[in-house]
């Protein structure tokens, strides 16, 4: 990933994304100012043909976006830009899942569907995921046919793995920060072995999720991307549930309040693990391939593609 682009994105997200912004976005208000800043920095064009960036940058930057719970449909905008080649417009083009649910469909000018249509005329029924991120069902009234790259569902699944990997890293930071400052029984709760062990388990899940996600990113230029993407979405999804449980337990009642920022991340983990195929879906995909190649090819498959 281009380090300069990553630094620029990190800086903008850190400066602009805070709890008030997240709460406004959840109430349905599009974060226009943040979007303008990103457009001015050229970050709306990540992944497009003449941008000098590609899929690895998209996924790398989504990890950064996940760390900040950025309330914009960046995965969809960037992947759509990659697929369509891109044009310098601040109008939104997003991607819908195979149930025609699209992030911020209500704000989109165009919607790309996984069956290869670019919808320009469509109606929208508003909805939201568990994190309150707009997830709007569209009905296509007018569209043109588009050639999609292969493994588009795998690519979209990997965008969620990347977002979740970033958010998982953030929840670990939040939990460590809380445990090392919150005092009970005369010492910080980080001094209790029971808490230390929970955080050690959390660190293992976070590290596994990040490594699995990076495995898919590494495989972008190789033949095994579909396999790596399936493994990554499945493994990251499993980490999301375990991690959310632990970070909430460590934060106690504080983390259960709306006032605390933890839920902006844990509710996203619970949402993203379901979007574009949950763990069971991608486990089955991977498992069917392995079963078909047979027991004696199992190790070779893992060593070659794993």
């Amino acid at each position: 990933m281009d380090a300069l682009v990553a630094d620029a994105a990190e800086r903008i997200f850190a400066d602009h994304v805070d709890k008030p912004l997240l709460d406004c976005a959840e109430a349905g208000e599009f974060p226009q100012q943040l979007w303008q800043v990103l457009c001015e920095a050229g970050l709306h064009l990540v992944g497009t043909k003449d941008s000098g960036t590609g899929l690895a940058d998209i996924l790398g930057l989504l990890k950064v976006a996940g760390r900040h719970a950025v309330p914009l449909p960046l995965a969809e905008v960037w992947v759509a830009g990659f697929v369509l080649g891109g044009e310098d417009s601040d109008g939104l083009t997003v991607v819908a899942d195979d149930g025609l649910v699209a992030a911020w469909g209500r704000r989109a000018e165009r919607v790309l569907t996984l069956d290869g249509r670019l919808a320009t005329e469509f109606s929208v029924e508003s909805g939201a995921n568990l994190a309150g991120e707009p997830r709007d069902r569209i009905r296509v009234d007018g569209a043109s046919e588009i050639d999609l790259p292969g493994e588009m569902p795998e690519l979209m699944a990997t965008t969620r793995a990347a977002l979740a990997a970033g958010a998982l890293e953030r929840t670990l930071e939040l939990a460590i920060e809380y445990a090392t400052t919150r005092s009970q029984f005369g010492r910080t709760i980080s001094r209790f072995q029971a808490v230390q062990h929970q955080l050690a388990v959390l660190a293992g899940e976070v590290a596994a999720a990040v490594r699995a996600c990076d495995g898919a990113i590494e495989a972008l230029d190789a033949t095994g991307f579909g396999t790596q993407a399936a493994a990554a979405k499945a493994r990251v999804g499993e980490a999301c549930g375990i991690a959310a449980e632990i970070v909430h337990q460590v934060h106690g009642a504080m983390g259960f309040t709306h006032e605390h920022t933890l839920h902006h991340f844990t509710r996203r983990l619970w949402s993203w693990r379901d979007e574009f195929g949950n763990e069971a879906f991608w486990q089955r995909r991977l498992g069917e391939r392995l079963a078909a190649s047979g027991a004696d090819a199992l190790w070779d498959f893992i060593a070659r593609e794993g």
Binding site: L172, A212, G215, A231, A234, R284, A303, G306
Partner: protein, 379 residues
């Protein structure tokens, strides 16, 4: 603020991958005929297989040519070890010497010790045991009480080591003993020594495990003489030396592949028309193995670069051991019950019966979580 545990992306380089086909051809030819494959590095013992592996140059692969080694990379060794484990080959005879005792002697031993012991290890003829735990020294390794007393030309050692894998078959043990002070002195005053397991003043007593097997032993030293020439490193430096072994000991493929043959037999028993639930389980287990392997290779890359990734290694071992225990628990419910002689039932029973050891040997789950917590800045 949290500094993060990083597992930087790393791949096995092409020259390492090139070895894979060679190892598989060797295995097709050399797996003992009546042997039931088992991916637990501790379970299969075959002097003949180990000797043939040595002849191929696959023991001591990374060691200097001067001691018979191959001067190859950690990645090449990684490919050979993971292929052996995945196939369930009998590797226990040389495993400890290759992974741990040899690298220890190369790092801290004298040239004379290296010349004396390592060529035999490389040939697959000299086998080593680890001498750390004692009856009253388990996870609390710094409480070692085995005492070495200065005598002319060396030391007299008395005390007991326990859980000593293959001490009844191996040639030497590298014992961690106290050359100064008492157990209350903790990390100070500890020293490592090579002791001849067949020598005078050494008694090896078998300890049967719950699976009915005999791998580990109690080793009693009674005024056993150890020459100065067999002291490894500086007297008193033992603690630094044993902790430096842990990066190698904890991050390898043997920390997540112990139950792999059960996975293979599960896929075989399921066949080509799995139910959606069986497919999902196969995919779930594969997603774990693939991820653990990537993390383990990331640690191998750090070792290759000369780093000391102690915390990362502890994390791979902890996560890997939990996976090794989870695997038999999940597959057993995804198939109808099989008769005991069925390959799946046989592998499952063997692994299940040994599974308690997975999260105990080489650092318990509790110790590892403590190491990780320290790495996170919690203690």
């Amino acid at each position: 603020m949290f500094s993060g545990l990083t597992f930087a992306p790393a791949r096995l380089p092409d020259e390492a991958e090139a070895l894979r086909a060679e190892v598989r051809a060797f295995l097709a030819d050399q797996m003992p005929a009546d042997y039931w494959p088992n991916s637990d590095f501790n379970e299969g013992h075959s002097p003949e297989f180990t000797r043939r592996l040595g002849m191929r140059g696959w023991i001591g692969m990374t060691w200097p040519k001067a001691v018979g080694g191959g001067e190859r990379t950690f990645f090449e060794r990684y490919v050979v070890t993971e292929e052996l484990l995945a196939a369930g080959a009998p590797v226990s005879a040389h495993w400890i010497a290759d992974r741990q005792s040899g690298p220890l002697l190369l790092r801290f031993g004298t040239e004379e010790q290296q010349r004396r012991y390592l060529p035999g290890v490389v040939r697959g003829e000299t086998w080593f045991s680890i001498g750390m735990s004692e009856p009253n020294t388990g996870s609390d390794l710094a409480s070692v009480a085995t005492k070495a007393t200065r005598v002319k030309g060396g030391w007299r050692v008395s005390g007991t080591k326990i859980w000593t894998t293959d001490a009844h078959r191996n040639h030497y043990i590298i014992a961690l003993v106290r050359t100064e002070g008492t157990p209350a002195d903790r990390h100070a005053g500890l020293t490592q020594m090579v002791v001849d397991l067949k020598g005078e003043g050494v008694t090896v007593r078998p300890i049967a495990n719950i699976a009915g097997g005999h791998d580990f032993n109690e080793v009693v030293f009674d005024e056993c003489f150890v020459a100065d020439a067999d002291v490894v490193g500086e007297p008193g430096n033992g603690w630094q030396q044993v902790t430096s072994e842990l990066g190698y000991e904890r991050s390898g493929p043997e920390r997540f592949l112990s139950a792999f043959r059960v996975f293979v037999e599960f896929v075989r028993a399921v066949g080509t028309a799995p139910s959606p639930e069986q497919s999902a389980l196969i995919g779930r287990l594969a997603s774990h193995v693939m991820t653990l392997r990537k993390m383990s290779i990331s640690v191998a890359a750090m070792l290759q670069e000369g780093a000391n990734p102690g915390v990362e290694a502890a994390l791979v071992k902890s996560l890997g051991n939990d996976f090794e225990k989870m695997l038999p628990e999940l597959v057993r419910l995804a198939l109808p019950q099989m008769p005991p002689e069925h390959p799946f039932a046989r592998s499952l029973a063997q692994t299940l019966m040994h599974s308690p050891s997975f999260t105990i040997r080489g650092g318990t789950r509790e110790i590892l979580r403590g190491v990780i917590a320290r790495g996170l800045g919690l203690r």
